[in-house]
Symmetry: C2
Subunit: 127 residues, 2 copies
DNA sequence: CTGCGATATGTTCTTGGAAACATATCTGAG
DNA sequence: CTCAGATATGTTTCCAAGAACATATCGCAG
C-alpha cells in the first residue's frame, strides 16, 4: 500500500502555492499549520511547535475558515483543558489534497528537476 | 505544434519554487527575470519592466550565475548602447525547464486543484 | 465562585529586506 | 578625450510584516 515515498526534507524539494484569487491562496505554511493542529489538537500548541506566534497562527486559521465554504478548523473555548481545536472533515480533505498534490507534482516533474539539479555548481569545489 | 495552453494569469494558478539547498533555489521571480532579460537584452530594462530595482535584478542574476556550474546570463559593459545582457545556452535551458515544469505540474495536479477550487467559498454571496 | 488554560482580538514595538540614493567603471561613438 | 548608456557595487533610508505585549472571554474542575 504505502510505497516508499521520498523524504520531503531531502534536498531537491518542492514548495508550491495555489493562488485562487486576491487574498485567497493555499501554501506550505497553511498546510503545515493544519497538520500540526490535527496532531496537537490546539492552535497555540501548533503555532508553538513551528515557532509561530499564536496571533499569526490564529490569523491563518481565520483566513482559511473564511476562504472555504465550510470551516477547516473548529475550536472550543473553556473546559477542563481550557479549550482546543480540531480539523473538520473539510479541513482533513484540504490537507489531504495539498499533500497529494505535492506527491503528484514532485513525481511528474522529477525528470526536469533532476536535469536542473545536474546543472548546479558543485558545492564541494574550492569555491 | 503549439497547442492552446491555459492562460497563466487565469485564476486557479500555481507558483512554485525548487529548493536545491541553503541559499540555492529557483522560483518564479528568477524565472520571470530570465525571461525579461532574454526579451529586452538588458538587466536594467528587465528589472524596470517588472518594477524591480536594478540592484535587486542584478543581485538575482549574480545569485543565479553562482548557483549553476555555468552562468545563465552574460553581460557586457560599455559600447555604443552602453552595454547589455543576454541568456547563455544554459540560461535558456534553465528557463525552458522551469516553464516546462509549470505546465507539467499544473496538468498533473489539475484534478486536485479543481477539487480544492470547488470547496472555496462563493465570493459573490452577501459576504 | 474562583482559578486555570485555552481561544479571541486589539495595540504597540521591532527588525529584516527592499527601495532609494550614490558612485565607480567600462567602451564604442562622435 | 569626452559623452552616453549600461553594468557593477556600496551606503543609507524606509516601511510593512511579524513579534511582542496586553486583555477579554469562555467553561469545567475543585
Amino acid at each position: 500500500m504505502t510505497q516508499p515515498q521520498p523524504d520531503p526534507t531531502e534536498d531537491p524539494r518542492l514548495r508550491f502555492r495555489i493562488l485562487f484569487g486576491p487574498d485567497c491562496y493555499l501554501g506550505p505554511g497553511k498546510a503545515d499549520l493544519l497538520e500540526r493542529i490535527r496532531e496537537t489538537g490546539s492552535i497555540s500548541a501548533a503555532g508553538r511547535s513551528m515557532s509561530m506566534s499564536y496571533k499569526r497562527a490564529w490569523l491563518l486559521v481565520e483566513e482559511m475558515n473564511r476562504m472555504f465554504r465550510d470551516p477547516l478548523v473548529e475550536s472550543t473555548r473553556g473546559g477542563s483543558k481550557g479549550g482546543g481545536a480540531r480539523l473538520t472533515a473539510t479541513g482533513e480533505a484540504v490537507l489531504d489534497h495539498y499533500r497529494a498534490l505535492h506527491r503528484i507534482m514532485t513525481d511528474a516533474g522529477s525528470n526536469r528537476i533532476a536535469a536542473l539539479k545536474a546543472m548546479l555548481a558543485d558545492m564541494s569545489d574550492g569555491k
